[in-house]
């Protein structure tokens, strides 16, 4: 199994990624095109399936892409791996710092928003990774 994954090339990652993102927003697209009365008339189980099936497909697709890109970076050029790791290090530290700041702020001033801390942290992680990537790239140019 380990060897099979080691040599599997994870083809069509970009296509899968685009399709997964489309699947994620598909329920919203469908619901936004329906009248509110029509949505209310839908059976609860049907409505649940409307969310469950596309999000399940999107999850499988995103997991496939994540593992695929992970192995692509590992097997690829060593400078690119170094840049990725340094950017990840900066992004992780930045996210942790903001995570602790947000815990303090939300806990004391808006406890009802604590549930959204994972969402906020994910956004900070993605943005800080993209910024760090550009900074680290300049360092090695």
């Amino acid at each position: 199994m380990k060897t099979a994954i080691k040599y599997f090339s994870f083809p069509y990652k970009t296509h899968v990624l685009i399709f997964s993102v489309f699947m994620l927003i598909l329920p919203v697209l469908i619901l936004s095109n329906l009248e509110i009365s029509a949505v209310l008339k839908l059976e609860a189980s049907l409505l649940r399936l409307l969310f469950l099936i596309p999000t399940l497909i999107a999850t499988i697709g995103l997991v496939y892409c994540t593992i695929g890109y992970h192995f692509q970076i590992l097997r690829g050029d060593e400078l690119k791996l170094r840049i990725h790791l340094e950017a990840l290090n900066i992004a992780f530290t930045t996210t942790l710092v903001f995570f602790f700041i947000f815990i303090f702020l939300l806990l004391n001033f808006a406890p009802d928003l604590l549930i959204s801390i994972i969402f906020i942290s994910s956004i900070i992680l993605i943005i800080s990774y993209l910024i760090a990537l550009q900074i680290v790239k300049v360092k090695y140019q």
Partner: protein, 64 residues
Amino acid sequence: MKNILHILRAEQRLSQDDLAKLVEVSRQTINAIEREKYDPSLPLALKIAKVFKKSVEEIFFLET
């Protein structure tokens, strides 16, 4: 870490792209090594040394 990679490459009339293909890395990696912005891993240093038929310490050395 200092290196004489650009001199060796010029002697062998190899472009950065040619050397990158020989040692299976990107041209950017070779460029970063030559500009002393990036220290290669030991396997890559050994591959480069093999291409130029020299020892690693003849190509890469610490600043004195």
